[in-house]
């Protein structure tokens, strides 16, 4: 069994879970217009952290950290301060989740600059951050596109179940880099305004940057990570399944593992990126699994799509929603998608939910589903 001992969200809306949650339920957004990567183009709508978060100079020197690493360290430190877990114990494992880590360091790199490539690598960051907290174990890094965060929590839950560790510190982050912005621009996937998840007139994503941490323990806690599952569409590497069947598969498998049925699920924290294809696919998956009446929310309109951090940010928000009895609204939502018939959570209000489902899907056709239960 795996329980949540502590959590943190470090986002443009706050540097703690509570602050971010309060802002989200109040309907605020961290998405704003910022200069794009190319000076000859217009602004991009992204959720960015304050400019004070930046790479140290001379990163190859000891004791110097990148923005990405500093975000992880700050998030983990806040979560650790809220529980009694010892990060230096041999019974504590670090699991990291990210899509691109320090990729901004490669933006002008020569392919033969082996030292820079090594410094920019995900495994280097994982070593630096876990050792900063005194970890004596090899850190695990999961890099599985946008499902990384949920996948990392599922991995942590499974590893705790084996008894190999007493605690797993799951931390994830991604930054809004020119590299990633230019890539999504090339896909024409970005919205030129705050995004509109699950809306008829949705037209693309906002990117966001954040870090988040969930500390899971075998010891009892208020919220249990009750089960999870992953699947693959086996259809297309950059577009989701047209039927939603494989996400439905992951959801069903997760519900079976957690021994919960659709009507018991108090709300769904969807991936809800506001692309035409993702939201349509998720709507189908929710209908296939009997969840079309349960409140569905997406916070991508408030925090942007935080990639490798998304699964952790949104799980932490879901945990607070369960423990504080307050529902999460869908910032940016306008009008219903035709033929979808979902119950999209619009305003925030009292909630008696005991179970929350978190879903995620990503490039490469991957899907993940996670069940959280308030004891």
């Amino acid at each position: 069994m795996a329980f949540v001992a502590a959590h943190n969200i470090l986002s443009p809306l706050g540097s703690t879970s509570a602050a971010t949650f309060e802002a989200v339920v109040a309907g605020r957004t961290g998405v704003a217009a910022h200069p794009g990567p190319f000076s000859n183009e217009g602004p991009v709508w992204v959720a960015k952290l304050p400019a004070a978060w930046a790479d140290d100079a001379d990163l190859q020197q000891a004791g110097r950290y990148s923005k990405f690493e500093k975000l992880l360290m700050a998030s983990i430190a806040d979560a650790l301060a809220r529980c009694a877990v010892d990060p230096a114990s041999p019974r504590t494992l670090f699991v990291f989740s990210t899509t691109k880590g320090n990729v901004s360091l490669l933006e002008n790199a020569r392919p033969d600059d082996a030292a820079l490539i090594q410094r920019a690598s995900l495994s280097c960051s994982a070593q630096l951050v876990s050792r900063y907290f005194g970890s004596v174990n090899q850190p695990v890094v999961i890099s599985n596109a946008c499902i990384s965060g949920v996948a990392a929590v599922i991995y942590a839950q499974r590893v705790l179940k084996t008894g190999a560790y007493d605690a797993v510190i799951v931390a994830g982050a991604d930054t809004v880099s020119d590299f990633v912005v230019s890539g999504f621009q090339a896909f024409q996937a970005l919205s030129a305004a705050p995004c509109k998840p699950f809306s008829a007139d949705r037209n693309g994503i906002n990117l966001g940057e954040a870090a988040a941490t969930l500390i899971l323990t075998a010891a009892e806690g208020e919220v249990q990570v009750a089960g999870g599952a992953m699947s693959n569409d086996a259809n297309h590497i950059s577009g989701p399944s047209r039927t939603g069947a494989e996400l439905a598969l992951a959801i069903s498998q997760a519900m079976r593992a957690a021994q919960v049925s659709a009507p018991e699920i108090g709300f769904v924290s969807a991936h809800g990126t506001a692309t035409i294809y993702n939201d349509e696919m998720e709507a189908k998956a929710f209908t296939l699994t009997g969840l079309q009446h349960q409140p569905v929310n997406s916070v991508k309109g408030a925090l942007g799509h935080t990639l490798g951090a998304a699964g952790l940010v949104e799980s932490a928000l879901s945990i607070l929603s369960l423990t504080q009895g307050q529902s999460i609204p869908t910032a940016g939502y306008s009008t219903p998608m035709p033929a979808a018939n979902l119950n999209i959570a619009t305003a925030s209000g009292p909630s008696s939910a005991r179970w929350a489902l978190k879903t995620a899907s990503g490039f490469g056709g991957c899907n993940a589903a996670l069940l959280l239960k308030r004891q």
Partner: protein, 205 residues
């Protein structure tokens, strides 16, 4: 599905050679690109998507092809119950560098950008072989076979998979290594047991 967990088959690709269950089955000196194209074409000419993939995806698809394509009966798990547990050290850095260079010249392309994620190779294998089960991509300092084996065993113990592809797919610059094993229950006594030692044996051939 009955029997002990076995390594049903293994495929190692390094130094422009393809080694299946310890035996070399194909080799072609020269560039990786030429080797990969020739090796893939030698097995299957009817999958045009291969030729547009990045290096890492080509490597993974080639390993999966030589592992699975000529023995369709090997993949006996149902599609939703065949998993993939794969890792490497450099994630998608090989393509990240190429993409960054193109973006600097204002030539950013979505077709290249999509490969700047290490799990895309898993997606390509899933599409080619219609595998829909549990899949996770790990980034590690070096191939921690013990960690991978422990996690894969957990998937089998929790009945999340009936079979699983496990391995190591690494590509950066001129250095690469592709390794995949098909793992699953079998009553065939002469097949190697699925253990860290046996996986290492096939990985270091």
């Amino acid at each position: 599905m009955k029997g002990e967990l076995k390594i049903l088959r293994s495929c190692l690709i390094r130094d422009n050679a393809i080694i299946v269950d310890g035996e070399m089955v194909y080799a072609r000196p020269g560039s990786f690109a030429d080797f990969a194209t020739a090796a893939f074409t030698a097995r299957n000419a009817a999958y045009p998507k291969f030729y547009k993939m990045d290096n890492l995806a080509k490597l993974g698809l080639l390993a999966a092809e030589y592992l699975l394509a000529d023995q369709p009966a090997l993949l006996s798990g149902s599609p939703e119950k065949v998993g993939l547990v794969v890792g490497n050290t450099n994630a998608s850095a090989d393509t990240d560098l190429r993409y960054a260079a193109m973006a600097r010249q204002d030539l950013a392309s979505p077709a290249l950008f999509v490969y700047t994620l290490p799990n895309i190779v898993v997606g390509e294998i899933c599409i080619r072989h219609q595998l829909k089960g549990e899949n996770t991509f790990f980034v590690m300092d070096n191939y921690d076979i013990e960690l991978q084996t422990a996690y894969t065993n957990t998937l089998f113990q929790n009945q999340l998979v009936e079979q699983c592809l496990v391995g190591w797919l690494e590509f950066l610059g001129s250095e690469y290594c592709g390794f995949l094993c098909l793992v699953g229950p079998s009553e065939q006594a002469d097949l190697p047991n699925y253990t860290t030692e046996k996986v290492k044996h096939f990985f270091t051939k």
